[in-house]
């Protein structure tokens, strides 16, 4: 057994790193089955709350239901394809609507009072954060911190690629 110790450790390290990296995925572009299924049943931003048959697509508390056994969505690492183009007005609507992105629940936003759980984004443009960083942070925050308090907007198809870009334009994401 002893002669295996070193290679074993190396294999273990590689395997752990691979598992921690989990899955790398691209942005939602073209056809996306999960997004299509959600948006066919529910359009965010309207008067209706998200319906139950959409919610059963994600892990749930009830262990007697199939969704109780769904594993957590794998961490998605994404790349940002520039340039950043989006509609600030649309981004504002997404960020401030409780049935859409609801960023305002935790963040103070440009022109809006909001929650104090996350950092204030009222002057985000002055921070000059790279677009790549901001995009990944919104898409799947777990890439930086597995226990962050943010929704996983990308992996669970809460927002689309373009909707995230709209929000980025609204908060005035600077950088390159």
């Amino acid at each position: 057994m002893r002669q295996f110790a070193k290679p074993l450790l190396a294999v273990a390290a590689i395997c752990t790193a691979a598992a921690a990296q989990a899955q790398t995925a691209g942005s939602i572009s073209g056809g996306d089955e999960m997004l299509d299924r959600i948006r066919a049943k529910w359009q965010p931003g309207g008067a209706e709350m998200i319906p139950q048959d959409v919610l059963t697509m994600f892990p749930c508390h009830d262990e007697e239901l199939p969704c109780g056994k769904i594993p957590p969505p794998p961490v998605e690492r994404v790349t940002f394809d520039g340039p950043l183009q989006g509609d600030a007005k649309r981004g504002e609507a997404i960020a401030t609507n409780v049935r859409y992105g609801n960023c305002i629940a935790c963040h103070i936003l440009p022109g809006h009072e909001g929650g104090t759980i996350g950092p204030s984004l009222s002057e985000y443009s002055k921070r000059g954060m790279p677009l790549e960083y901001t995009y990944q942070r919104i898409w799947d925050v777990r890439a930086f911190n597995p226990y962050a308090f943010m929704p996983v907007y990308g992996p669970n198809r809460v927002l689309t690629d373009q909707e995230i870009r709209d929000v980025m334009v609204f908060i005035g994401t600077g950088g390159k």
């Binding site: 395997c15 921690a20 139950q52």
Partner: protein, 310 residues
């Protein structure tokens, strides 16, 4: 080399499972204890609100309500609207059903024999052969003795729930989760509380632990999971749960379901094993805390707004 490959595959499997658990559960669930004083390990503010005297002292010292875990404006005063619901519950308690019996037939006038009972709920029921919440016990009783169909999410059940809780006003919550099915339910409830679910991939712990509990969540002020369960059911501004009528009494079962909805999780079924387990966890986390019934989520005193500079 073959052996090495096998071991490698095994390790990959172990590492993958480990990674899943890491992302499925919020950290810290191993630190919980079934007593309200356990909050010292979380918000660290327990001493500021451990009883009503401590809350008053903290307020007089000018502490911000977030340093009192929001207990100052939430449970200190009784709710006038809640008093009306208690009266309505008392009426249901004494109302004779078609067989000529009422709750008072067995439990005495004004619930004489049920004083203190609510402070010990949920508990294991030999009849149901599982742990059940008070609302489930009410439902079972109503069917058996009154021939009434009052499941957990019905009006009469909630009114009775409010009245029975009122009969334990001032008692300390006392749930024994040290062994048997109650221990199992507590541990299951704890794990579910820390499990991330739903469209947002949130856990109950996302809002009720850590930095969130010291902050403002849009118009809401989430507290830690310690102590609050002692004051349920509460009067709540009329609110519609999916599939239900407008509800103005929030039992803990209603509250859990409402939280699930707001966090885009699949709302559970009231009285189910899952929601019961979560209630056992929450109620045990209020062990040793005095019940205050009836109260409401935000009471009439707005002094906290001035103290917090809002």
């Amino acid at each position: 080399m073959n052996r090495l490959l096998q071991l490698g595959l095994l390790l990959t499997l172990v590492a993958t499972v480990h990674a899943q658990v890491q992302h499925d559960f919020w950290p810290g669930r191993e630190r919980v204890i079934p007593h309200v004083s356990g909050d010292e390990m979380w918000s660290g503010t327990y001493k500021n609100w451990k009883d009503s005297e401590a809350v008053k002292k903290s307020m007089a010292a000018g502490m911000m309500s977030r340093d009192i875990n929001f207990k100052d404006f939430r449970w200190l005063e009784k709710s006038f609207d809640g008093e009306l619901k208690v009266d309505m519950g008392r009426e249901v308690f004494h109302r004779k059903s078609s067989n000529g019996r009422s709750c008072a037939t067995c439990h005495g006038e004004n619930g004489e024999k049920l004083k203190g009972w609510y402070a010990t709920q949920p508990r294991f029921s030999a009849k149901a052969n599982r742990v059940i919440v008070a609302a489930t016990q009410i439902s079972i009783c109503a069917k058996e003795h009154l021939s009434e169909d009052w499941p957990e999410n019905t009006r009469n059940n909630s009114l009775l729930d409010m009245y029975l809780a009122y009969l334990s006003d001032g008692r300390d919550v006392d749930i024994d989760v040290t062994s048997g099915p109650m221990k199992e339910a507590y541990e299951k409830g704890r794990d579910l509380f820390f499990k991330r679910t739903g469209h947002f991939h949130f856990a109950c712990a996302s809002c009720h632990t850590g930095v969130t509990t010291q902050s403002y969540l849009r118009g809401q002020r989430p507290s830690t999971f310690f102590g609050d369960a002692a004051h349920y059911p509460i009067y709540h501004f009329p609110y519609r749960l999916p599939g239900d009528d407008v509800e103005d009494i929030f039992t803990l079962q209603h509250q859990i379901k409402s939280c699930q909805m707001l966090s885009r999780m699949l709302p559970g079924v009231e009285g189910s094993r899952t929601l019961t387990a979560i209630e056992v966890f929450l109620k045990a986390s209020a062990n040793g805390y005095k019940m205050s019934i009836p109260t409401q989520e935000y009471n009439m005193s707005t002094g906290y707004l001035l103290r917090d500079g809002l």
